[in-house]
């Protein structure tokens, strides 16, 4: 399941050179940007005053991940044109979160994590269910990103998957550790520029060198269903991917921490613009996979198709560009996820459950320990790629978490906008949605899990609220002190 060293396009020496050069660049940037962090709030929320340019860049770069640059081509290869168009619907997650980001900032000017909100709005039971959902998702995303790093390096340079994965993970852990969210946002800006220029360059060269006609002719000859607009699994996948993307963004602390960190009135415009700019990227990145039959390339594992095609078309230069682009995309997401997940674990597990009176200094230190621990656990899981049932290809790992995150959409939306939402119903909607979503993942396929999870979750929440509505006073969110060890219970009055 791996590429042999003798057929790799990028010489090992160049690959190591790029890895070391960019690794050092990100770590130095991380140290430089984070050198003024003194408190947990500095480290976690970058002083709560991030401006429009950096805010848009970090939202976009974080959403352009290994999942965009590598899973979009994988889905184009597996599900055809609907695969890449369906993937681009993930932009709606960012666009729909724009008004929510503004509301979050207004309701919780002193908030820290998405967990804070759920605890204050719905109480402890729903908060704990939400934490399980959120941490499983974060872990699945972390593992898929680490896997993507190893796959990329193996596909291009033939370097052992585990070695490449370990190096990329280590670099990201190091600079997140040094700089916190400030470093993450700063490096995201540089990485966004690299990603946009690189993806556009690769797509332009693909069209120029292979041509639409050759791509179309060979697809019709060898893989005609990829062009079929009535491809059944692809039709099932369309809204599934939309709800997966929406679920990821609505619930994840990656996006909530940015909503808290962006300056007042910045969040709405930044998320909206980032979503619009992100929309074409999966289509451009995924398109290259459709050139596979025209080029006669063998794709050993579906998630390798993007780098393989680009390297085949563009030769050594292409391989170097792909390497830099995907490394930047990976790093920009991996660091964001490490930072946001460590915040969630520190605030909601360490501070919320283990050491309720932890000082600011203790939290600051805990955040760093958690980053290292997350890195180690991710490394251990990603080492078993292809050997454990769910840890197969990138898409399999990622969409496994779809059932979890899609079931959290309605509790978050209802929590923000529906005054009478039932708190227990919100928790149970996540349990039921996740359970049936996972059943559909294993019995039908990865391309329906999020959709089923979202549908069941909505039904349960509406039913509970209809049977037992509970009024909530929004002012309690702003008045409550998120640091407080004694939370406002449940919002149910």
């Amino acid at each position: 399941m791996t590429i042999a060293e003798d057929v790799a396009i990028l010489p090992e020496g160049i690959a190591w050179g790029l890895l070391i050069a960019f690794g050092i660049l990100w770590v130095i940037l991380g140290w430089y940007l984070g050198r003024k962090n003194r408190t947990a709030e500095d480290h976690m929320l970058a002083g709560r005053n991030v401006g429009m340019a950096l805010a848009t860049a970090t939202a976009m770069a974080t959403w352009v991940t290994a999942n965009t640059t590598m899973t979009a081509p994988q889905l184009a290869l597996q599900l055809g044109v609907w695969g890449m168009f369906g993937y681009s619907l993930g932009a709606l997650g960012l666009i729909l979160f724009a008004p929510m980001a503004r509301r979050i900032r207004e309701l919780m000017p002193q908030g820290f994590t998405s967990g804070d909100f759920i605890r204050l709005r719905f109480g402890k039971f729903t908060w704990r269910v939400f934490l399980v959902v959120s941490l499983i998702y974060a872990f699945g995303w972390l593992v898929s990103l680490a896997m993507a790093g190893g796959v990329l390096i193996n596909a291009l340079a033939g370097i052992d998957y585990r070695v490449g994965m370990t190096v990329i993970l280590t670099v990201c852990v190091l600079y997140t550790l040094l700089g916190g969210l400030r470093a993450v946002i700063g490096t995201d800006f540089v990485q966004t520029v690299i990603i946009v220029l690189g993806v556009a360059f690769i797509a332009w060269l693909t069209i120029d060198k292979v041509g639409f006609e050759a791509i179309h002719f060979n697809l019709m000859e060898e893989r005609p269903e990829l062009l079929n607009l009535l491809f059944p699994a692809a039709i099932m996948f369309l809204f599934n991917n939309l709800f997966f993307g929406v679920g990821e963004i609505f619930h994840s602390n990656v996006w909530w921490s940015r909503a808290f960190a962006f300056g007042r009135s910045v969040g709405f415009r930044a998320y909206l613009l980032a979503g619009l700019l992100w929309l074409p990227i999966p289509i451009v990145a995924g398109f290259v996979a459709l050139a596979t039959p025209a080029l006669g390339i063998n794709v050993p594992v579906a998630d390798m198709v993007g780098p393989l095609v680009a390297a085949e078309i563009l030769g050594l230069t292409g391989a170097i560009v792909v390497f830099i682009v995907v490394f930047a995309a990976l790093a920009s997401s991996l660091d964001s996820l490490l930072a946001a997940t460590s915040d969630l674990v520190t605030r909601d597990i360490y501070r919320g459950h283990i050491r309720k009176r932890a000082s600011d200094h203790e939290q600051f230190r805990a955040t760093k320990v958690v980053v290292v621990l997350l890195g180690l656990v991710t490394w251990a899981a990603a080492s078993y790629r292809g050997e454990l049932p769910v840890i197969g290809s990138l898409a399999e790992v990622l969409y496994f978490t779809g059932a979890f995150v899609a079931s959290a959409i309605w509790p978050v939306v209802a929590g923000l906008y529906w005054r009478r939402a039932n708190p227990t119903g919100a928790g149970l909607s996540m349990v039921a949605g996740t359970t049936l979503g996972l059943v559909s993942y294993f019995t039908i396929g990865f391309y329906v899990a999020a959709l089923v999870g979202a549908a069941v979750s909505l039904a349960v929440l509406v039913l509970f609220t209809w049977l037992a509505p509970r009024d909530f006073d929004w002012r309690l969110l702003a008045e409550a002190e998120p640091h407080s060890a004694a939370p406002v219970t449940g919002g149910a009055r």
Partner: protein, 143 residues
Amino acid sequence: MRTLMPPRTRSWLWCLLLLAGLALPAQGTAGPAFDSPPERDAAGFFSLDWEGAERFELEQASGPDHEDARIIYRGSDTSTTVSGLPDGEYRFRIREEGAEEWADETVVVVEHHPLSRAFLFFALGAALFVVLILAIARGRRLA
């Protein structure tokens, strides 16, 4: 340990080891073989894995007579991703590159999900999406 093992037992063990050693090359001559290939596929994509040689030739055909057979891969990789095939029965054969005889064969039946099921999920998704937009828009207005 050696002192505890009677000479006769040791001789038997040597014989067994010798036989096992002789059997190993015999397995190698059997040539490449598919590793747990799928029998049916509804998603429209699947992967084939194989092992047993340095370089391989993989052939795909759509009928038992292999009339439309074509080589879809030649090289040292040990797996491939198959996608984009319409409903039908597909036959894959593998052999060592340059060998006369095919070493292993497998049949995969591609039967896509029925369109009625696909559109059911599509309609469910569209309805949920409308509810989501209305919930956010209405919530913003009332907030």
